[in-house]
């Protein structure tokens, strides 16, 4: 379009002619105007894009505290963090032992159990299947826990072990471990 913007009768005297390096004043004007316009458009568009990101009240609700006292050995609870389920499982000694005994070579997403927990008996993972986002079964005693006694995703048949690692099925990754910290021996804060 730049060429068509030059009016037919515009003067093309020496002052408007090519400079030694081949550019004209008009090229310079077009480029600087374009650059300013691009910056301006960016500055206007950014607030709109930014407004679609999480608002401050959403971010303020981004951490969840969980009291571990009522969770007996072998039990699990589901808490909501950022609108997603988080599985907190009080593992039995046997479950821990099985998880630790599994050789990494058998794993699709190799990760030692020690790297996935802060305290051996407490496993905290996002209850979101890494395949397509369903919530796996295995929290309730009556649920199917899958072939590895962890969780089983009914959507497309992914099996997770007692460390929340993917063992069988289409999911590519282990159940994610959210950022959390122990505030005391019986209290954790997720997020």
């Amino acid at each position: 379009m730049a060429e068509t913007m030059v009016p037919a009768g515009a003067p093309h005297g020496a002052a408007h002619g090519p400079t030694p390096d081949g550019g004209t004043r008009r090229d310079f004007l077009v480029l600087t105007t374009g650059a300013f316009a691009a910056v301006g458009v960016g500055a206007v568009v950014w607030p709109f894009i930014s407004s679609m990101n999480p608002a401050r009240d959403v971010l303020a609700l981004a951490s969840t505290e969980v009291d571990l006292t009522p969770i007996a050995v072998g039990q699990a609870v589901t808490v909501v963090w950022r609108g997603k389920p988080v599985f907190v499982r009080h593992r039995t000694a046997e479950e821990i032992q099985v998880a630790r005994a599994t050789p990494l070579s058998e794993l699709k997403d190799p990760q030692p159990d020690q790297a996935r927990v802060q305290k051996d008996q407490w496993l905290v993972v996002l209850g979101v299947c890494t395949h397509l986002g369903c919530v796996p079964l295995g929290q309730k005693p009556t649920d199917a826990k899958g072939n590895y006694n962890g969780w089983f995703c009914p959507c497309h048949g992914s099996h997770y072990d007692t460390s929340g690692r993917i063992r069988q099925g289409p999911a590519p990754l282990n159940l994610a471990v959210p950022a959390y910290s122990f505030m005391s021996d019986t209290q954790i804060r997720i997020g």
Partner: protein, 423 residues
């Protein structure tokens, strides 16, 4: 029209391929590139483009506000406050939208004034003008419903008062009001439908704007002299001459707009609208937004309920028949020595009404409103029809270019009928 590929003059092969099949680029070139436009526009001719830009700003900001707004009486006010405090740049988007409504009316009022002063409503542009009045009516409806959405005290009581206007009509009035409300008072159903319509109407406006512009491109633009271009020497291609002139105006406009948004975002609003709606307490002094004040003053100038409502609607309705009320064939007020001053007086009456509309309904404001209302209507219904016959207009220039190119002033009156000068 021949069947087959459009004969495109575009060089770029990709654009050409599209243009041969859907000649939108040829159309844009014709309507906004080479479109012959009178060479003598002044800055009043910026305001159509400014209104178009404002409509786009309002739609864009409105879409983003709707992402965070909740149209429910329990949540509406809080959701707006959340936009102001928690949503990233929500304050900016809302203040642009809020003040954009005011800027829209400022621009459109100047645009209408341009039409009144330069006779843009006269033949052959009557339909163009009527479409403009339709847009203005739609804008008023949209702005009114938008003001209800934050569900503050002014929102609620503004909605109550304006919807109650319809109760003035005998027999069916009460039924109409109940129907508008979807209940027996302004409540959640009202808020829901207002949100729905507030989202819909801007797109209806955009559609009528398209017709408005399409009609404009048939008749061509009027100009400050109000005479028709007589050939190429009287016009310039729209691009780059008027794209450049519109851009200058647009930048000045954005400076004003931004000053309002960043330095006085609540200057044109009413503090009571930051109080959540309370159906049991009416604010002591309720006023509509500033752009409705002239019409509000006309409403209150009449002691009879139905009469006031009819007169208020009539003040807009009279604009529809304006092309036939003004009997003078001379368009531009520059050449109408008497009509020009009666029109300036009408402008003063308009501002007086705007001022009186913001005052309490008591003396002396009521009397002042009545005088101004009388003149508002007299200008259209008495002065313009009579002046067309009584007034002796100044002689019109022979063409737009002639006084400039020959250095001469207006030509004798008889010269108007002369055939076109050399093209």
């Amino acid at each position: 029209m021949a069947i087959g590929l459009h004969d495109s003059s575009i060089k770029n092969p990709v654009i050409r391929w599209v243009d041969q099949r859907l000649p939108v680029f040829t159309m844009m070139q014709k309507e906004y590139g080479t479109f012959p436009t009178p060479r003598n526009f002044n800055y009043f001719w910026n305001f159509g483009a400014l209104a178009m830009v404002t409509l786009m700003i309002m739609i864009a900001t409105g879409i983003f506000l709707a992402m965070n707004y909740t149209p429910h009486t329990t949540y509406a006010f809080d959701s707006v406050e959340r936009i102001m405090r928690d949503v990233n740049y929500g304050w900016l988007i809302r203040y642009v939208h809020m003040n954009g409504a005011s800027m829209f009316f400022i621009v459109v009022y100047i645009h209408i004034w341009r039409g009144l002063y330069y006779g843009s409503y006269k033949a052959p542009r009557e339909l163009l003008w009527i479409l403009g009045v339709v847009i203005f009516l739609l804008m008023m409806a949209t702005a009114f419903m938008g003001y209800v959405l934050p569900w503050g005290q002014m929102s609620f009581w503004g909605a109550t008062v304006i919807t109650n206007l319809f109760s003035a009509f005998p027999i069916v009035g009460e039924h109409i009001v109940t129907w508008l409300w979807g209940g027996f008072s302004v409540d959640n159903p009202t808020l829901n439908r207002f949100f729905s319509l507030h989202y819909l109407l801007p797109f209806v406006i955009a559609g009528v704007v398209f017709l408005h512009v399409a009609a404009l491109h048939i008749t061509g633009s009027n100009n400050p002299l109000g005479i028709d271009p007589k050939g190429p020497q009287d016009t310039l291609p729209f691009h780059p001459y008027y794209t450049a002139k519109d851009s200058v105006g647009l930048i000045v406009y954005f400076i004003v707009f931004a000053s309002l948004v960043f330095f006085a975002p609540n200057y044109l609003g009413h503090p009571d609208n930051y109080i959540p709606a309370n159906p049991l307490v009416t604010p002591a002094h309720i006023v509509p937004e500033w752009y409705f004040l002239p019409f509000y003053a006309i409403l209150r100038a009449v002691p009879d309920k139905l009469g006031g409502v009819l007169l208020m609607f009539g003040s807009i309705a009279v604009l529809f028949i304006l092309p036939w009320l003004d009997t003078s064939p001379v368009r531009s007020m520059r050449f109408r020595p008497i009509a020009k001053w009666t029109l300036f007086l009408w402008l003063i009456a308009f501002f007086v009404l705007m001022w009186a509309g913001g005052k309490p309904a008591e003396e002396p404001y009521v009397t002042i409103s009545r005088i101004a209302t009388a003149y508002y209507f007299a200008y259209f219904l008495v002065i313009l029809p009579l002046l067309g016959r009584l007034e002796r207009p100044l002689s019109l220039p022979e063409s737009i270019a002639l006084p400039v190119l020959r250095g001469g002033g207006p030509m004798p009156a008889g010269a108007v009928a002369k055939p076109m000068e050399k093209a």
